[in-house]
């Protein structure tokens, strides 16, 4: 079933029905923000959070869509966007760090 959906997705992409999935990067430079804080993505795209800070962080959807768990310094975590909508997320360790994925 999943394979069929994947084939369908590739077929749609090949026919120009949908653009090919893109890879995005969000950088965590310090404990104050995600950069960029707001990112426009499409279903099927990948988003990689790269932690360049000296302390661990998370990227955790506030509505339960995704949760990176702990991302240690110099580590990263990749999420394949699964559904459309505005996905707000925070770092659960530093709740003042907020971000949004705007999924088309």
């Amino acid at each position: 079933m999943r394979i069929a959906a994947g084939v369908l997705l590739m077929w749609a992409a090949a026919c120009g029905g949908a653009p090919a999935p893109r890879a995005h990067t969000i950088t965590i430079v310090d404990a104050t923000r995600f950069s960029p804080a707001t990112l426009d993505v499409a279903v099927g795209d990948t988003v990689t959070w790269v932690n360049q800070d000296v302390v661990p962080h998370t990227a955790t959807s506030t509505t339960g869509g995704f949760d990176s768990g702990r991302i240690d310094p110099e580590q990263s975590w990749t999420y394949t966007v699964a559904k459309a909508g505005e996905l707000a997320y925070v770092c659960t360790y530093h709740p003042t760090m907020k971000g949004t994925l705007r999924v088309k």
Binding site: D30, A31, D53, V54, P56, P73, Y93, H94, T96
Partner: protein
């Protein structure tokens, strides 16, 4: 001369932001010892809070301090190792440790809401003092570029901790 400057740093740390700007004649080896001591003090207090706090926010904050300051110390240790600097104890690092021990001794006599308040009040004060030391002494005093860069990089986490601690402090003050 160096002794006097380091004492001034110690005075700055103890007296907080109101103290006159300290002189900058600390060596990288002394800065390394100060960084390690500053983090260790907050790790120890955080461990106690994680075990003893009654308010869940305070408990979580304590756990957070253990995580973040351990991580900073790991980065600091890696850099110190790479630069082949041997941390050199000095009045500031010693006063930080003594202050930390006094704080722990006091916290251990408290429980419940009194513990939570005393811990958070001290965290606010402590992070203010460390930020002040970073700005006035440690960052300007670091001669190695990588050490300076690490100190600059660490600062936003300390700012976030201070804001977080203040937020908890105000919620505790509202009769929770």
């Amino acid at each position: 001369m160096r002794g006097i400057s380091v004492l001034a740093v110690a005075a700055g740390l103890l007296a907080g932001p109101a103290a006159p700007a300290a002189a900058q004649a600390v060596t990288d080896a002394q800065i390394a010892a100060i960084v390690v001591a500053a983090n260790q003090v907050d790790i120890d207090a955080g461990k106690l809070a994680a075990a003893r706090a009654s308010n869940p926010e305070v408990k979580k904050f304590g756990e957070q301090m253990v995580t973040d300051h351990s991580s900073v110390n790991k980065s600091a240790a890696a850099l110190v190792n790479k630069l082949k600097v041997t941390p050199e104890e000095n009045p500031t690092s010693r006063s930080l440790k003594e202050g930390g021990e006094k704080n722990l001794a006091r916290l251990k006599t408290l429980s419940g809401a009194a513990f939570d308040k005393a811990y958070i009040d001290h965290e606010v004060e402590y992070h203010q003092q460390v930020l002040d030391a970073l700005d006035k002494t440690l960052i300007p005093g670091a001669s190695n570029d990588e050490l300076k860069a690490l100190l600059v990089k660490v600062k936003p986490a300390f700012v976030a901790h201070l804001e977080h601690a203040r937020h908890i402090q105000s919620s505790l003050g509202n009769g929770q």
